[in-house]
Amino acid sequence: MSSSCPVSYPFPWAETPDIPHDWRTMREQSLLHVTLPSGDPAVLVTRYRDVRKLFADERLSRNTARYPTSRISANNDLFGDPEIDNDPPRYLEERSVVMRAFSARRIEALRPIVQQIAEELMDAMEAGPRPAELMEAFAFPLPILVICHMLGVPPRDRQKFRRLIDGFLSVSALSDEEVEECRTGLWTYLGELIEHKHADLGDDLISELIRVSAEDPEKLTPYQLQHWVKTLLIAGYVTTASQIGTSIAVLLHRTSVADELKKDLGLVPSAVEELLRFQIMGTSLGSLRYALEDIELLDGTVIPKGSTVMLSVESNMDDTVFENPCTLDIRRQDNHHMTFGAGIHFCAGAALARMELQVATEGLLKRFPGLRLAVPGEELARPQGGFLAGYARIPVAW
């Protein structure tokens, strides 16, 4: 890889459920010039220690819609919204309203509910045809039903909002008109949902946010309220579903590792963490930031002011931090990966996602001890043109 000639980003995926080639070699340079799917330029910070440091650096703004930031997609603004302030202090004030719902105690209170949902989905899988398709039978419905429960969204709406969210997250899959229709449709749907809730408040998260907003509209305006509901609904299931799918695919592709885990389910938490580090469904596109000033990296390389910057999740493969980073080691300790980011924008739903992944992994291995990929790992197809690239279909048998 040469620093002078920009490379296309995201990098090509490996043919098997494994770490892509470029993830292993990209750290030769601390800063890589890349071209986004839109054709716009950006720089990728490749080394773990720089990444970790810059996640806490306020010279990198998250207000990408307020500055001349490069676009991810040519026809979709994705998460950019000039009306939302994503930098401190405003961002932290809003975030604190939401975060109380994600404390360890609140997440653990949800665990039995998640287990119940997982059991019911596995009952249906067991009664259905084999091979089963893991994404539709399990990986998608589990986090969707969980986030519906948490937010207080009627589960019967899921087909409707799923289509709208798929369109909302299109990077190149849909036309301008289709993207616009989905973005408008999703916003309208959420507006109606919130209005409906106003009349019938419950103990769900949307109701809680409505109460906060009614008490102090300065703290959370109706627009901000709707924006957070949108963010939580999207983040609450698409990422988790993709990670459940790729986690299981990565694991089942390595039968000896899967066998080791089956023999000792006490390893599930560290295995989940390692599968999060080893994630091959996301990219660093979600970390897009705008450099408000020149910023120097640890080796002296400078990110010029005005650059569009990505903080590399591929730094999970940095061998100066992780021993044998390309080996899936389900017993790995000190696994401080960058999959959830770091700093003040650390993934709000990390504890929820982790818990769902633990329930899903343990549940599947317990219920289906003979679980295996029904096609070779090389044949698993990825969805095209979306923001995330887990597997479109994962046929499994047992």
């Binding site: 996640f55 806490a56 975030r95 604190s96 975060m99 109380r100 719902a101 994600f102 404390s103 360890a104 105690r105 609140r106 997440i107 300790q333 000190d334 401080h336 959830f340 980011g341 770091a342 700093g343 003040i344 650390f346 709000a348 990390a350 504890a351």
Partner: protein
């Protein structure tokens, strides 16, 4: 004698990752808002390895662990 351990946490910069609570529940908890609370600011030195893991994993570096070696007798 084992060393004296002191633990402090900054709940102003806490972003509710919950990592410390899962890692060392004897020492860390969260308030109603989800922000870090130190339950035991002088925990047993037996917990040091886990305390350092909690410190390193904190996404906003909000946890501090100090170790005072016991004076030799």
């Amino acid at each position: 004698m084992s060393p004296t351990v002191r633990v402090t946490a900054d709940n102003e910069t806490c972003v509710t990752s919950s990592l410390c609570v899962y890692r060392v529940p004897e020492v860390f908890d969260q308030d109603e808002e989800g922000r870090v609370v130190v339950l035991d600011s002088r925990p047993s030195a037996d917990l040091l390895t886990e305390l350092h893991r909690a410190r390193r994993s904190c996404p906003t570096r909000s946890i501090h662990v100090e170790v005072e070696e016991a004076p030799e007798t």
